[in-house]
């Protein structure tokens, strides 16, 4: 009997599309994490669509000081996500999609193919999935970046899709400069990017959400599929008990900066140099070629302000 029941249940797949009303990156990352933690996606896959106001999102094992040009980051939140991979920029011209599944049916390629198919059928935009599992146009220009988190029983794959993003701001924030940081952290791979509206100006975030959502719901995986349609959600403590705590963690210094893999940074100025060793975002060791006391830096939280202060200090030394 147990066997019969199991067979019956496993033959019905329930699919849902959720759209977040929030534009706050910490709220959306917390919502995504809440779903991952609290739901069981066995036979109930779910697609979450979300957008954020200006922000930079780094991968779980990345170094924000290496990835982000903080001098450009006024009024731009820097967030750390739970998945692997590199740094991305989000604004209202970028659509984020999270494909939740049971770990055993996690399939990044299939999700990306769904997006490629939709772009082709709706707007005749031809795109490809490259080796890094990003979606590109003309073999070169990236329009979508991918990352994932694999656990038990759940897994998710999420990706960005550039519709009409502020490419100048993105570039100013993420352009690579030599920062003299030595680390084993995951390092981003820079790519040339393109907005979908540059290819076809009829594409909009709203039309994309509808088209991708419908395509997702109607895709049948050889089993009976029941759709629960589109649903708007407002991430809050009332609907998602425990939400505030996850959001608080996402916003915390400890998660965003303290989780940075340990690194060394060399600060050079005036032919002198200072080497800082940073673990969990805290300065653990200081060594310098010059005769200046930097003992006050021990156990301090590392920041770009400290780097600037050291540079100023080095400049005052007579060589």
């Amino acid at each position: 009997m147990a066997f019969v029941i199991r067979r019956f249940y496993s033959s019905v797949i329930e699919k849902t599309v959720m759209i977040s009303r929030s534009k706050d990156v910490f709220e959306n990352l917390a919502l995504e994490h809440w779903y991952y933690r609290h739901l069981d996606f066995t036979n109930k896959p779910m697609l979450l669509l979300w957008m954020n106001d200006n922000c930079v999102v780094i991968g779980r094992h990345q170094n924000p000081w290496l990835e982000v040009n903080f001098d450009q980051a006024n009024n731009v939140h820097v967030a750390r996500r739970n998945s692997g991979g590199g740094t991305v920029f989000h604004d209202n011209g970028n659509l984020n999609m999270t494909f939740f599944t049971h770990r055993d049916v996690y399939n990044r390629k299939k999700n990306l193919e769904l997006i490629v198919e939709t772009l082709k059928s709706e707007w005749n935009i031809l795109t490809e999935i490259n080796k890094r599992e990003d979606i590109v146009i003309d073999n070169n220009y990236k329009i979508s970046g991918t990352a994932s988190k694999l656990g038990r029983p759940n897994a998710y794959h999420h990706c960005t899709l550039l519709v009409n993003c502020n490419r100048e701001l993105m570039s100013a924030l993420l352009r690579k400069h030599e920062k003299n940081i030595e680390t084993n952290a995951t390092v981003s791979v820079s790519s040339a990017v393109l907005n979908l509206t540059q290819i076809n100006n009829k594409v909009s975030i709203n039309r994309l959400m509808t088209a991708i959502g419908l395509q997702y719901l109607k895709t049948v995986d050889g089993k009976i599929t029941k759709t629960l349609g589109f649903n708007y959600v407002t991430p809050n403590e009332h609907t998602f008990p425990g939400f505030n705590e996850i959001k608080k963690e996402m916003e915390s210094w400890e998660w965003r900066y303290g989780r940075t893999p340990k690194f060394n940074i060399t600060i050079k100025s005036n032919e002198q140099s200072v080497l800082l060793s940073v673990k969990n975002g805290i300065i653990e060791n200081v060594s310098t070629t010059c005769n200046v006391s930097l003992n006050n830096l021990f156990s301090k939280k590392f920041s770009m302000n400290i780097v600037e202060d050291i540079k100023k200090c080095l400049k005052t030394i007579e060589v």
Binding site: R60, A147, S148, L150
Partner: protein, 166 residues
């Protein structure tokens, strides 16, 4: 694990024709159990999440299986638990990153983290190259040997992979 031990004992009792009321029988039972326990712990044990654990003197060495490392692809970063952390069985205790995916690590047993493999911090590729030897992840001072005895042995794990993923 418990039932297989019972089978062994029953088989032995048949073999030796011993009466269960006999004190000799009791001592045989304890000896058999001792024997089978030490025997069990010589082997590597596996979880259904594809971690392995190898126990010597209450210290369990933990890694991921060949099957798991192959499924992950090239590991580029290993996030390991801090030494001194108390973990419970099945707790998340770190993550491995490969091809832009962060895969959670789950502790195969409860205990305290006493050592981490610092070599894989600089060369995470060791997890792919040598998942059972140089690519181990961390060592755990076990709070309960029984937890390990309940995991799958080599043979059961091989069968599990066949059934689950073919």
């Amino acid at each position: 694990m418990f039932s297989s031990k019972m089978i062994k004992i029953t088989k032995l009792s048949k073999y030796f024709h011993i009466n269960s009321n006999n004190s000799q029988w009791l001592s045989l039972v304890t000896n058999t159990m001792r024997f089978s326990t030490s025997n069990i712990l010589k082997d590597r044990y596996y979880t259904d999440k594809h971690e392995w654990i190898d126990v010597k003197d209450k210290i369990g060495t933990v890694g991921i299986s060949h099957y798991a490392q192959e499924a992950l692809g090239d590991v580029v970063y290993a996030e390991l638990p801090a030494i001194g952390t108390e973990v419970k069985i099945k707790d998340e205790c770190g993550a491995l990153e490969s091809v832009k995916a962060a895969s959670e690590l789950y502790s195969p047993a409860s205990g305290k983290i006493v050592e981490i493999n610092s070599k894989i911090e600089t060369s995470p590729a060791l997890i792919n190259q040598s998942c059972y030897e140089n690519g181990w992840l961390f060592k755990l001072e076990l709070s309960s040997i029984e937890e390990v005895q309940n995991l799958m042995n080599e043979e059961q794990y091989t069968e599990f992979i066949k059934q689950d993923h073919n």
